[in-house]
Symmetry: C2
Subunit: 230 residues, 2 copies
């Protein structure tokens, strides 16, 4: 029974890692399709999201089955419940990557923007991609240094998100209405991708150390500037 | 033991209902603050979000404790796991209501928009408020007619979301950059609030009937129009 249990826990971990890698690949592909107006890549990302969703459904079933048949306690229980949570979060990260790809595809054959705004969005996409990869590595290794790296990348994303608002508000930046919409949405998608990465990083940290990170407001909320504007 | 278990399950349900009512009140308050540039109400909504987050943390602990000590199986297990999920989703709905309130507060004493765009956003906020209330009622009654109502309201929100893009893209609508940002974000926040409501509705439906709703793409994704634009 114990041996089967260990195998099932291993399977849960393996599938979660697989899902994490898919979510990372998706943002990497979406970033590339944004940067270089790559339609084929955008389509791949959009398609790949079904796999991420399917992995979540499987993990769901496996996790619940494990809970039902093995009634794990203590650390094992927290691990299973955490796996279910992380899987939901990865599913959401896959959705956000897909949304980025939709924008890239919708504007094909043009790039979504140009100049400073383009540079900023490409930079955000690169940092989001790093978040994705670090999350996958963290799921694999449980090396908490990676959790810190993810928090740093998310901080950068929050700052870039704030900068995107400055650029948009600058009337000297000529932008068509479509570009404005796309910029607001893309910056938000990628900032949220970072937030989700941090959420996973904190959950793994909690699993490993038993300590909850302080649930404070996302820097991004403050960065939205709503609190400063009068 | 069984009696304690039943009490604990009841407590879980009661706290989830409390959280659902808070999430509904938050969107109602946010909607009102948007409609009438009500600063005090916006501040209340922003504050209330801490309560929603605290309820989620409590529910989390209670749920995991229940799983550890009582090792529920079958329907009870699915109920506890679902409660954890629903609580996460309600926490996210509270965040979205708070984001709507941030926008209202940031533009005070002006309203966020005027004319057609204002009317549309106020309409979306009303439908989002309905979603919130129906979700709370569904958590209370498990009456699946409410689940259908929620899906209908979400459809309306998706259509209004699509309409918001048409309005923004219409150059004849004069809009400052700030208004453009706020409109894109507000419409998205409220559309996502509807999506989360549907997610809870489907989970309750699954709990009651044992049948998974087809996990198809949100109408909102298509409504974004990215698939149609060339």
């Amino acid at each position: 029974m114990r041996e089967i249990f260990k195998q099932e826990m291993q399977q849960l971990g393996d599938d979660l890692l697989k899902q994490g890698r898919e979510a990372a690949r998706s943002m990497e592909g979406a970033a590339e399709s944004l940067k270089n107006a790559n339609l084929a890549l955008a389509e791949q990302v959009i398609d790949a999201d079904k796999r991420i969703d399917a992995l979540e459904r499987n993990l769901d079933e496996m996790g619940i089955s494990l809970l039902a048949r093995q009634a794990p306690v203590a650390a094992d229980l927290r691990t299973v419940v955490s796996a279910l949570r992380i899987s939901s979060t990865l599913e959401r990260m896959g959705d956000l990557a897909r949304h980025v790809a939709y924008v890239a595809r919708g504007r094909y054959p043009e790039r979504v923007n140009s100049g400073e705004v383009y540079d900023l969005l490409v930079e955000m996409a690169e940092h989001a991609t790093i978040v994705g990869h670090r999350v996958a590595e963290l799921l694999d290794s449980h090396d908490l240094e990676l959790a810190e790296r993810i928090e740093e990348e998310d901080s950068i994303l929050d700052k870039l998100h704030q900068k995107s608002f400055s650029l948009i508000l600058d009337e000297k930046q000529h932008m068509e209405r479509q570009e404005l919409i796309d910029t607001v949405l893309l910056a938000r998608y990628m900032e949220r991708y970072g937030d989700h990465g941090v959420s996973i990083a904190r959950r793994i940290t909690f699993l490993v150390t038993g300590i909850h990170a302080e649930r404070n407001m996302s820097i991004g909320d403050v960065a939205l500037g709503y609190e400063e504007r009068q």
